[in-house]
Amino acid sequence: MEKQWYTISVYSENNVGLLNRISGIFLKRHINIEGLNVSKSEIEHVSKFTIVVNTTEDWTRKIVQQIEKQVEVIKAFYHTDDDIIYQESALFKIASHLLFDERQIQNIIKESNSQIVTVSREFFVLAKTGRRHEIDEMHDALEPYGIMQFVRSGRIAVTKAAMPISELLTEFQEN
């Protein structure tokens, strides 16, 4: 089976040990976590893990089954890129003098639709939100001029279709 990008959404109770438990499921099968984000979700007191992997659908399905089996996991889903709206964020720290010395940098900022978050005497910081390849393209464009620091967040995603989780939680609350 062919490998492709899958985004796994995990709804869980907010528990300290759970990240360890979930990451162990990937570790055991030698599947690299390409992106990880943990945040609150649309449901009060429920956390959401967004995990990105590049593997086969068969493995993804088995991993999701194992994740869902964990006591503190409420529900887990997997999606292809077509099923979701997704974004990543990145920050670029660049020497301030380049802004004046290298005219091209201003073009890159405009074309990439990124924002200048702060400017100081020594450096300025660019923030970019978008798809992974857009951030990669911006990184490649800036790299020849020198990037002092670079960081990219994990993917965050929402599904195009309704996530069949809300009903489940209403059911919990009724009981």
């Binding site: 040990g17 360890n20 438990r21 162990g24 088995k62 869902e68 996991v73 009981n175």
Partner: protein, 577 residues
């Protein structure tokens, strides 16, 4: 108004008491019906042991000689009773010594709660004396685990621990309790856990899946059941038997399913897997409908997956959704507790017989009997065989003993030849293959079934991994019957070396001590058998003994266990020699 207040106050006094965390823990255990725990004290669990001292009339603590022994004894107890086994240890090495038993319980779905002491909260993360991250260490091998750092958490977490350990597909739970939480006081009140919102222990059975399963079974010409421990854990033995008899369906067992159906039942065709029976393996690839009940298609059962039951429609009765389509793609998955789902299936099954199909199992059995079984249980050569020892034990116990085995050749022989008339009677380390499991598990099994004969079958290798537990047998006079089948080798590894490594016996030859003298050192009655002529009498003497008894049988040094599916081979290519 005043009376109302007074009533309220009185009610409060009834339901809560101001006690320490350590005492609260004991009340939690008592509320869960625990009367027996296995463990080993140490610094970080001392407040709890102090309470155990005070509660010894209600709660028996058995001091094993190693924490691994405590975990395996708790497992043996759980497997034979169906109740949650409890093991206790201190922090650091005490906790890490439990890990093998926890991993074993996880892979064999054994309900167990392990309680470990932990350094006081303020010292966590400081590399304090005997501090270890047991929650981190045990995470991959527990169904659930938790570190209690505040005394108020104790009742709720303990209730949850027992609920999770025993519900759904059972498994081990570890609760780590910091020392401050043991010393501090709380207003104690216990409520049993009845549910955890993120956890659905038993999936709802789907009627249409059951109907599809029934249709496949009713139209099958060569239906075949393989049952596993799910039948025992779900207490679905009667439903299984009813299905087998009504549908006239031959049924084979996995090593952990053994004893769910009496071994002498005419439709019980034997064991599947690497050292299982010939017919059950070969005919897996000739059935038209394979009905897997409470089993997980372990690699030792399936051999090469690419050639496993490809011709068959496969129905999987399973409680754990994560097992469905994990190793083998199935046509119909019936989720739920086997007792419930088989109960729903039964009325839909047509009464049937599959005589020709059954004859094939008989024919295959005949072949295996002539080439393997006959030689194993009625040998004509000089050296004693493990099989004939099992045969004698069957006869002496009327097929009614609890058989606890360790891991290796003797385990395969025990599972192949031991006969059973009652469920929950075969206790062995299946998934993890833990050498050293047998002796402590037999202690737990005996203490869980004092009215039954418990015979431990152990090899000379595994015996020496937990031999110190003879101390428990002596101290508490636990009337376990211990049989060591001594071939002076790590027999199974030696067999593989002979077959696949050109007989290079790397580190498999054992120079053994005098096992009889060791048993005598613990004041346990003992006997050694070196000749066939003594065997029957020795086994009879052992079974007749009211006290613990140790029997060493010197068996042939280089016997092999057959049939055998070599690793990576198909079930159809099982070797008879």
């Amino acid at each position: 108004m005043e009376t109302l207040k007074a009533e309220k106050k009185e009610k409060k006094q009834e339901t809560t008491m101001r006690i320490t965390g350590a005492e609260a823990l004991i009340h939690c255990l008592l509320a869960e019906g625990v009367d027996l725990i296995y463990g080993y004290p140490g610094g970080a669990i001392m407040p709890v042991y102090d309470e155990l001292y005070k509660f010894q009339d209600k709660l028996t603590h058995i001091l094993t000689r190693h924490e691994q022994g405590a975990a395996h004894a708790a497992q043996g107890y759980a497997r034979v009773t169906g109740k949650v086994g409890v093991a206790m240890a201190t922090s650091g090495p005490g906790a890490t010594n439990l890990v093998t038993g926890i991993a074993d319980a996880q892979i064999d779905s054994t309900p167990m709660v392990c309680i470990t002491g932990q350094v006081t909260r303020s010292l966590l993360g400081s590399d304090a004396f005997q501090e270890t991250d047991i929650v981190g260490i045990s995470t991959p091998v527990t169904k659930w685990n938790y570190q209690i750092t505040r005394v108020e958490e104790i009742p709720e977490i303990m209730a949850k621990a027992f609920y999770i350990a025993r519900s759904g597909r059972p498994g081990p739970v570890l609760v780590d309790i910091t020392k401050n939480a043991q010393f501090d006081e709380l207003d104690f009140k216990y409520e049993k856990c009845t549910g955890v919102r993120s956890y659905k222990p038993v999936p709802e059975p789907n009627l249409s899946a059951i109907e599809n399963a029934a249709e496949l079974i009713n139209n099958a010409k060569r239906p075949y059941i393989i049952f596993g421990q799910g039948v025992i854990l779900g207490e679905a033995e009667a439903e299984l038997k009813a299905l087998v008899e009504k549908g006239g369906i031959p049924a084979a067992w996995t090593i952990l399913g053994l004893s769910a159906m009496e071994t002498d039942h005419p439709l019980n065709v034997g064991m599947v897997g690497m050292h299982g029976n010939y017919g059950p393996n070969v005919l897996t690839n000739e059935c038209d409908v394979l009905i897997a009940i409470g089993m997980r298609f372990d690699d030792r059962v399936t051999g090469n997956l690419a050639t496993y039951a490809k011709q068959a429609k496969i129905i999987h009765f399973e409680i754990d959704p994560a097992e469905v389509n994990k190793n083998v793609k199935v046509d119909v998955a019936v989720l739920g507790n086997a007792k419930e789902t088989l109960g729903m299936l039964l009325p839909l099954i047509n009464k049937s017989e599959h005589k020709e199909w059954l004859d094939e199992f008989d024919k295959k059995h005949q072949i295996e009997f002539e080439t393997v079984i006959q030689k194993d249980i009625h040998p004509t050569k000089e050296g004693l065989t493990m099989g004939e020892v099992m045969e004698q034990i069957n006869m002496a116990t009327g097929n009614n003993a609890v058989i606890v085995s360790d891991v290796g050749q003797h385990q395969m022989i025990a599972c192949r030849y031991a006969k059973f008339t009652q469920s929950k009677s075969n206790i062995t380390s299946g998934g993890l293959g833990t050498m050293g499991f047998g002796l402590p598990a037999a202690i737990g099994a005996k203490m869980g079934a004092m009215d039954r004969e418990v015979v431990a079958i152990i090899g000379d290798g595994g015996y020496q991994m937990t031999i110190q537990e003879l101390g428990v047998i002596f101290q508490h006079n636990v009337p376990v019957k211990i049989v060591v089948l001594n071939n002076d080798h790590l027999g199974m590894v030696r067999q593989w070396q002979e077959l696949f490594f050109e007989s290079r016996y790397a580190s498999t030859v054992m120079t053994n001590p005098d096992f009889v003298k060791i048993a005598e050192g613990y004041h346990i009655k003992s006997r050694r058998v070196v000749q066939r002529s003594e065997l029957k009498d020795a086994v009879a003497e052992m079974i007749a003994s009211k006290d613990p008894y140790f029997l060493e049988v010197k068996v042939e040094k280089e016997d092999n266990v057959f049939p055998m599916i070599p690793t990576g081979a198909s079930v159809a290519d099982i070797r008879l020699k």
